[in-house]
Amino acid sequence: MSAPVLWIIFPIVASAILLFLVRYPRVLKISGIVISTILALTAILQPIGNVLRIGSLSVDITSIMYIFGRSLLLENTDRFALSLIYSTLLIYLLALDVRSVPAKFVPLSLAITGLLIAALAVQPFLYSAVLVELAVLLMILMVKEKYHQPESGIIRFLVYQSLAMPSILFAGWILGGNQASVSDEARLLSAVVFLLIGFSIWLAVFPFHSWLPQFSQAIHPYLFSFLFSLFPVISLLIIMNYISSLLWLRSAAYLTPALTVVGVIMVVTTGILGSVDKDLKRLLAYTVLLETGFSLLMLSIRSEQGVQLLYQSFIPRILSLALLGFSLAVGSNHGIILTNAGMKGMGKKLPFATTGILISLISITGFPLFAVFPIRFELLTQLGQTSSSSLIWIALGLAGFLVGVVKLFMMLTAPDREKPEINEKISEIVIIGLGVLFLILFGLYPQLTGLMIKPFYADIPVLW
């Protein structure tokens, strides 16, 4: 059996079968948990290329699968991504409230995950855009609500993502004819422009960012946090694939300044927008933008350390976003309107959800003693050695974002005459408590994230 069959074909086939069980959400949830646990554990424990032994049964896990003249290739360098992606899926399935999130979440999330991994694995890598587009189309099927007219945010998401695909494919075509002749700079430059447009749309880089807050506003916060825990991370991994595969791009002198400028612009614009926006669902989108900005800055360091830092950053990033999405979903399920005004005094009605929201936002801002801080601190230290002016802009962006968080804090804890009470269910309190605990643990013991990716250190791709 090949690795692509296990981590790509199996979840897609399983999702197709599970679609017949949408009337049984609990069965679906348990099936999803079992499948994602198996896939996450296999990715963590089983090196690709070795024999997998289960009792007397032994299966040789090969890395490649051929399909219609093209191939899907998963190697040991992809094991970290596979573990991370399936662990993320597992976290979201474990915390899934089947009463507030549609049952189709389970099969569609499996199919989306499988397709996104296929986008990482497809060879030649230039075709990944088509698979990402297929995943995006399934995302829309997942988020459209039965009883509401779709908001413009969903249609905008569809339009933007559908425009990214031709852009990247076209760039691939230009490059395909030019791989051998790096001297044709005009054509290479036009390929870079098309790639840049496509990637900017995927990552919602300014000025292609407007769809993200609108999309976030239009859908359930839990679905948004799931989709955007995976999508930007996989987009970044695909971008790294592109950079590492195209030698002329990897050695281009303009790559570092371009990544730095784009990263800084993302952090600053997010800070400004986050400071003035009063909608918490949109703030959820800004947290994604902020993290993506920092991820690009990590890539811009252009060293092995930068790549390791990026890989480490995925863990607190996904945890914070999951906690924020879950806490917002708890608020939304209890009839709270997710705006600054609507959340006034929420601290007294839903104290644990409020804590979850605040801790995750504080962690994303990069406060000391929280999960994101050690990585952010390391990044800024390294960035200060090469581009100290960008630090001032980053500080400005973070200050703006912090203003938004402080404003929210004041609204959540605003005094009112109601008696404090706990309205969350035990399961919700446990999940939020665990999320908060992990964010603090990763902050107090920064070596934990390092330990988690240490088994994969030897296989992390070296870009520069």
């Binding site: 399909i67 219609f68 075709y127 088509v130 189309l137 829309i140 039965k146 031709p166």
Partner: protein, 193 residues
Amino acid sequence: MENWINYLSVVVLLVGLFWLQLSDSRKSIVIAYSVVVLMVFSINIQFWTFGFALSKLITAIMAIVVMSLAPDTSQQVEFRSNRTGRVFRGLGLAFCLLLVIFTLNKTTAYLSLSVDQTLPALAILFCGFLMLGVSREPFKIIVGLLTILVGFEILYGAIEQSLLVNGLLAAVFLLIAVVGSYLILPPETEDEQ
């Protein structure tokens, strides 16, 4: 042009694009779109294998059929534009076509394709972008997206003949239509469940 018959195809195609751009009713949009994809087929068949061109035609037709099967809610919501809007859209497309025609030699050389493919592809792409830019109705936006993909496939199909990639592109095409028709479905009421 390599074949004189293509002048006829391109003229009919341009008429189809204006028709598509100026149409407001679903029926008219569907017919205009079908005319466009038929003309694209008549051009593609000269450069691609018959099976490949036919599969693209069938995919495009199936997509628009899926879209047209979704219940029309425009009787409840008035989206029809006024005459000024139509003039604006018509002029917009005319300017785009002028741009395509004036830059045709350079773009054809850049893309290393024949004029017979470049002209229709760029005209369709611009028409699709214009539809995306000026439409508010979801149906027209989705048709705009499909139009862009039809234009893109003329360019991309000329250089990429891989079965997997073209199969996936066809799947994307159909899935956009399915998702589009799902999005424009009128919302169910709680009682209907």
